[in-house]
């Protein structure tokens, strides 16, 4: 098989840049290009940077010129970023994807399209199945803007893949990521010195380790399958367990106060807004089935749900706001136990 020509859309995003870094080391990739409205945050060696806004029709003229064989869309935003406030997210996520698909239609060399989407399409309710499988999308009501955006753009993508049966169209549905250096609201939330939680609720979560998040994306680029694929670690872990492993004291708040408090805290402490389905996620949690990722894309996650959190806790130890004073230590001293 000849060399591959890969174009990463949204290369300035963390995951787009990470993917570019990995693909640069891959000898089977002949040509690598990145499209975004701003240059990537890291130094890339052999990636052609093409400056273009994903929402503009310019994409339709630029993309065919790259003679891309694989297009990876990493430009979907979960939460507002500097320069990309929340009113813009719908445009970037939905209209941007539409523009990209229109550009893909004109690219004759194209064989595969991979979109880095979100598991938010399953919704977020108390009595939901413990593990959503891929065909269970949109069974539950979509209550937040982000959930509806994801559903809408998946709808367009489905349509696109049906009209172009010769293309392999793969939608990756990501659970939220975790990693010590990640600048993401959920990670910053977990790093607060006192973590507010919703009184009486303890969501089951699956947080994808940053290594696995990039690894799965790379694996899907190499070996995409048709249709949606969940990206999540095996197993699940409850928020209370996460906070104990990360040694963060929690402050239970009545759930109607949780959202506003977090917004305030976010502005003060730089935790950033928990946009999208964050607040509901931290009340009810969500689990997805990852068997398709393992058996069809053949990606074996390095970390399961608990290991991902343990790794996060161990590696973010050095950057703590509070010293490691913890009720468990006091009890250990009382009990005379050594650890």
């Amino acid at each position: 098989m000849g060399g591959r020509r890969v174009v990463i859309v949204g290369v300035a995003s963390h995951w787009g840049a990470e993917l570019a870094r990995r693909l640069e080391r891959d000898p089977t990739v002949d040509y690598l290009a990145g499209i975004d409205s701003a240059p990537p945050p890291v130094e890339l060696e052999r990636t052609d940077f093409i400056e273009a806004d994903i929402r503009s029709a310019l994409l339709s003229r630029l993309l065919p010129g790259t003679k891309a064989e694989t297009v990876v869309h990493c430009g979907i935003l979960w939460y507002p970023e500097p320069g990309k406030p929340s009113p813009l997210l719908h445009d970037i996520n939905v209209i941007g994807t539409l523009q990209l698909l229109a550009a893909c239609e004109r690219t004759e060399t194209l064989e595969r399209v991979i979109v880095r989407g979100s598991a938010a399409i399953y919704g977020c309710e108390g009595p939901s199945p413990g593990f959503f499988t891929e065909e269970m999308a949109r069974r539950l009501p979509l209550r937040t803007r982000f959930q509806r955006d994801v559903s809408e753009l998946e709808g367009y993508f489905d349509n696109f893949s049906r009209r172009h049966p010769h293309l392999t169209c793969c939608m990756l549905r990501y659970q939220p990521e975790i990693g010590p250096g990640l600048e993401m609201p959920l990670v910053r939330y977990l790093s607060l010195p006192l973590v507010p939680v919703q009184l009486g609720f303890d969501p089951r979560l699956q947080l994808v380790h940053a290594d696995d998040a990039t690894g799965a994306l790379e694996a899907a680029t190499r070996n995409p399958v048709r249709g949606p694929v969940n990206v999540a670690p095996s197993g699940a872990i409850s928020l209370s367990h996460i906070l104990r492993l990360a040694r963060r004291p929690s402050v239970p708040l009545p759930h109607p106060l949780f959202g506003p408090t977090l917004e305030r805290l976010g502005r003060r402490l730089g935790a950033g807004p928990l946009y999208g389905d964050g607040v509901r996620l931290l009340r009810f949690g969500r689990g997805v089935d990852n068997r398709r990722l393992e058996t069809e894309i053949h990606y074996q996650s390095r970390f399961d749900a608990v290991a991902a959190v343990r790794d996060f806790a161990a590696r973010s130890m050095g950057r703590r706001v509070l010293t490691s004073f913890h009720p468990g230590d006091v009890l250990d001293m009382v009990a005379g136990a050594r650890r």
Partner: protein, 328 residues
């Protein structure tokens, strides 16, 4: 403090979040054992106290381990240590409050998947799942935890949802049941659902419709045997006389029961009446012979569903006669 053990520590893992409660429960248990051994109360108390420092140290050790997060929760959120910590309360209900008699517990497979199907009652708080679980834990030669399907509404409620999940409850939908059975778990289902718990006291022990027979489909699909279970005694714990429909609609509950003591006595009305219970586990029904094609055969599924329902109904009447008086 830097070298922390990564894996959960070895050693007996009893009790959990409430170690002091566990220590007191231990103390009382040792006390009772002492008296049963023929000691006078003071000697029994002294002997039980001798054990106390060690029990306390264990308890402190345990709570410290819990606080560090060094415990295991499975992918459903089931926390075995937590379940063991609250077990003494249900043990008390089982032995003293309801004086449960369990029969043929051996019909529950000691390993591998199986679907327990039981009648459902207890308008306010359906305790039947916990008592079936108690029967398996106490009377079975090889005790094992069972998972149970819980009405969806419970998972919207604060505290309740967390408690139910930690002791092994999952929301009642076929996807959960199938996944659990594929993991070779013991799963409890109550096909009557809210229709069973919400029926008036005058209709006690009369089985309601068994849903759409979905439980049979699940059993056929996963090749799990069905073990019908008949529970007698659960209907008398909260005799449901009326229904506060408007409140139910306002809070989204399937029904809000009015019993002789609820809501008149407030929280006191939540204390169940001490009826006498009998639980009978029937012969397992093996469905592995049908193969996956049978899943589409509605008639067959309904037939099996009806067969299970009749078995439970018959056993209910038999055990009602065996029990005699409801409370004494």
């Amino acid at each position: 403090m830097s070298a922390q053990p990564r894996a959960a520590e070895a050693g007996p893992a009893e009790g959990a979040d409430a170690p002091s409660v566990a220590a007191i429960a231990d103390f009382l248990r040792r006390m009772r054992n002492g008296i049963e051994d023929g000691l006078d109360p003071t000697t029994a108390a002294r002997r039980a106290t001798d054990e106390l420092p060690r029990a306390l140290r264990d308890a402190v050790d345990r709570i410290s381990r819990r606080l560090r997060g060094e415990y295991h929760e499975d992918e459903w959120g089931f926390d075995e240590e937590f379940a063991e910590a609250v077990y003494p309360f249900f043990e008390f209900l089982y032995e003293v409050w309801w004086r449960v008699e369990a029969e043929e517990v051996r019909n529950v497979p000691s390993h591998g998947r199986a679907l327990l199907v039981a009648n459902h009652a207890g308008a306010l708080l359906p305790f039947d799942a916990s008592m079936i679980l108690g029967a398996i834990m106490k009377e079975h030669p090889l005790p094992r935890w069972a998972r149970f399907m819980v009405l969806d509404w419970a998972f919207v409620l604060p505290f309740v949802s967390v408690f139910v999940r930690r002791v092994g409850g999952v929301s009642a939908n076929p996807h959960n049941a199938i996944r659990l059975l594929e993991q070779d778990e013991l799963v409890m289902a109550f096909p009557e659902g809210a229709k069973g718990t919400g029926k008036p006291f005058s209709e006690r022990y009369r089985l309601q419709r068994f849903g759409r027979g979905g439980f049979v489909e699940i059993a056929v699909r996963t090749g799990a045997p069905i073990v019908p279970v008949a529970v007698v005694g659960s209907e008398e714990i909260y005799p449901k006389l009326g229904d506060a429909t408007q409140i139910a609609r306002a809070i989204g509950a399937p029904f809000v029961p009015i019993t002789p003591r609820f809501p008149w006595l407030g929280a006191l009305g939540l204390i169940p009446l001490p009826s006498k219970w009998r639980i009978e586990f029937c012969e397992p029904i093996d469905l592995s012979g049908y193969g996956p094609d049978a899943v589409g055969d509605r008639r067959l599924l309904f037939e099996i569903s009806e067969q299970v329902r009749e078995t439970i109904q018959r056993k209910l009447y038999e055990n009602l006669i065996k029990r005699g008086s409801a409370f004494l």
